[in-house]
């Protein structure tokens, strides 16, 4: 939930006041209209551009520049120079900062996708079931959600990660654990939306036609809040990245490979601050900031595209 500072407060503003219900539009017409506004939304386009560049570095960086991110074969503490082999400089141990950055970015997107995706799946499942079926099922799920909403995600992850045997400590496990712990606010948001939709006429009609509960959720409720679900996923994606970085920075990161949080952990551990090796800790933080910032701006841009009330055109 790190960084969900933003995520949560924004989720509320996305959901707006309780009276603000999702807009239901026929799918065909809606997609054309959304595209029309998407190509005109500066926020959306700028954010998309930044994300494409960052994803490109994450995917192609390690392929083009195949330097091992932890090979200590450069000159130590080399500041960035125009020389193409050394544009990001080297660490205290002579490791290539660009190789670390590109590999770290790749791991960062992986954590966001897997952790955020898993959290979105759990959150939606819990939210749909609680909101649609109601009754004692809702009571129980709501209680579970509230309990895990209060427990700070990072604190829970700390205890889990510190007891993991070192052979298990890798980026995939980190992502899975983040996904398993950061779903509660999404569940609550989805539940509230489902709640407001389930009494609508078209849902009643679907029920009358004899469709089963799950079918009604999948065919009537979820499509009518698809934009909302997508925004939830974006915020969970950004949140997972920030939690992962904090976990790595505290010293519970993966034992193998490189992440952006681990870069900052190493920089602090080996006194980069006192030695003035700024090129060691500036790029990783900047990478996270650009990624998460672009996601949030994209979220607002999409919100304006999906919700006619917010369009400033």
């Amino acid at each position: 939930m790190t960084g969900t500072l933003n995520a949560d407060t924004k989720m509320e503003s996305v959901s707006g006041s309780p009276t603000n219900e999702p807009t239901a539009l026929p799918a065909k017409k809606a997609s054309g209209e959304f595209l029309y506004f998407a190509v005109r939304s500066k926020k959306f386009l700028v954010a998309l551009g930044i994300l494409i560049v960052l994803i490109g570095i994450g995917i192609f960086g390690p392929i083009i520049d195949a330097t091992d991110p932890v090979a200590q074969n450069g000159i130590a503490m080399q500041p960035p120079t125009a020389d193409p082999g050394n544009w990001f400089g080297t660490t205290y141990f002579g490791e290539d900062v660009f190789a670390q950055f590109a590999n770290g970015l790749r791991a960062t997107f992986f954590v966001g996708l897997l952790g955020g995706g898993l959290a979105a799946l759990i959150g939606m499942a819990v939210g749909f079931i609680a909101g649609y079926f109601g009754g004692w099922l809702d009571e129980i799920l709501n209680m579970v959600t509230n309990v895990f909403l209060v427990i700070p995600t990072l604190a829970l992850l700390l205890v889990i990660a510190s007891y993991l045997p070192s052979s298990w400590r890798g980026v995939p496990f980190e992502a899975i654990f983040i996904g398993l712990t950061s779903w509660p606010w999404a569940a609550r948001a989805v539940r509230a939306q489902t709640f407001s939709l389930r009494t609508r006429d078209f849902v009643d009609l679907a029920k009358l036609s004899g469709r089963r509960g799950w079918k009604v959720i999948a065919t009537e409720i979820a499509p009518n809040m698809s934009s909302y679900l997508f925004l939830t996923f974006i915020l969970l994606f950004g949140g997972a990245i920030l939690i992962g970085a904090s976990l790595d920075f505290i010293g519970l990161g993966p034992h193998e490979g490189m992440t952006l949080g681990l870069m900052m952990y190493n920089a602090v551990t080996w006194a980069a601050l006192n030695l003035g090796i700024w090129w060691w800790f500036i790029p990783p933080g900047l990478g996270i900031m650009a990624t998460v910032g672009a996601l949030y701006v994209m979220n607002v841009g999409l919100d304006e595209i999906f919700n006619p009330k917010l369009r400033d055109i």
């Binding site: 407060t9 209060v150 904090s246």
Partner: protein, 331 residues
């Protein structure tokens, strides 16, 4: 109101019970064996010696009892405030080590949370639907709120501490000072507090400002605002109503944010070697001090629950609906 409080208290008690149970469960059911980890550090043991040592450790930590017995013993010790002894602080009780660190963390967190909430909300409300302000505040807010806490700390430390040498780089107070009630010690304490406070304040400020800005826009678009405008009410009055309504979700937001904020303060303290809970945690992990680590986890939970409760009380005071209808609120 009594029902509202009763429900809250039940949730919080249940949360504490579950959190403490998880705290107890994890070391026992995780793959890998903490005792084996301790033994590995000894090295050069004969098989009989190893067996004797393993037995000693199992007895020491009470791991040779049955599971239900271990669980009950854990709760008895916990309710007596006994969280075991810490290796990192040379065998002193965990509770003592944590109590020594808590004032530093609270001195950072409380002013940072309150000031950023106040400043962010005022600023966000001011910026909403005002072209020029909105165009400057919004991007800055997004940049700040997307910044990892530790990175902003590192940047501040590098610029203000390393390059300009305005504030000291690390620690809670100077190495040449002893804690005392003198003016010199106090100013030194404040100088060391400044940078971690600033980095927490700035990241949170961005989040509140954006949240408030978006909420105000929703409120200004809603029917009651339109109606007021149609009646010819001055802009200031409409915005005042919008602000009051937008405040409530921001209070709820504060409760939801506590976990993130706590995490932020942990990593910020590590950047500045600030002697609070975060630094203690960092050292506990480095020295594989599990008792200390688990104790810190429980303290974070208790702190978060207390803070949630305070937010609930504030919410009741601010929102009359909770007093009458016993609904709304956070958890």
């Amino acid at each position: 109101m009594r029902r509202y409080f009763g429900r809250k208290l039940f949730t919080y008690t249940l949360t504490f019970f579950i959190a403490a149970t998880i705290d107890w469960l994890i070391p026992r059911f995780m793959p890998g064996d903490p005792v084996a980890g301790l033994m590995a550090k000894q090295g050069g043991l004969s098989p009989e010696g190893a067996a004797a040592l393993a037995q000693y450790y199992n007895n020491l930590f009470g791991l040779d009892r049955s599971m239900p017995e271990q669980f009950i013993n854990f709760w008895i010790a916990l309710l007596h405030g006994d969280l075991g002894r810490s290796v990192y602080v040379h065998g002193r009780p965990v509770t003592e080590a944590i109590m020594g660190a808590i004032p530093y963390t609270l001195a950072l967190l409380i002013p940072a949370i309150l000031l950023s909430w106040w400043a962010g909300n005022s600023f966000g409300a001011l910026a909403a639907r005002r072209k020029w302000l909105d165009n400057t505040v919004l991007p800055i807010g997004y940049i700040l709120t997307a910044t990892p806490y530790m990175w902003l700390g590192l940047v501040l430390a590098f610029v203000l501490g390393f390059s300009l040498r305005i504030f000291p780089l690390s620690g809670g107070y100077g190495f040449n000072l002893e804690p005392a009630l003198t003016w010199r010690f106090f100013t030194d304490l404040v100088a060391h507090w400044m940078m971690p406070f600033l980095s927490l304040f700035m990241v949170m400020f961005g989040g509140w400002a954006i949240g408030m800005r978006n909420m105000i826009i929703y409120e200004l678009e809603s029917d009651y605002s339109r109606y007021l405008e149609a009646l010819g009410a001055p802009q200031g009055l409409v915005r005042k109503y919008a602000f009051h309504n937008a405040m409530l979700p921001q209070i709820t937001g504060l409760a939801l944010q506590l976990g993130v904020i706590v995490a932020g303060s942990l990593v910020t303290e590590i950047v500045f070697s600030y002697p609070g809970i975060g630094m203690l945690l960092f050292n506990a992990i480095k020295s594989e001090d599990y008792f200390l680590l688990q104790g810190i986890f429980l303290f974070i939970i208790i702190g978060t629950l207390l803070a949630n409760f305070v937010v609930d009380i504030v919410y009741i005071m601010v929102d009359p609906r909770t007093r009458v209808g016993m609904r709304g609120g956070t958890a």
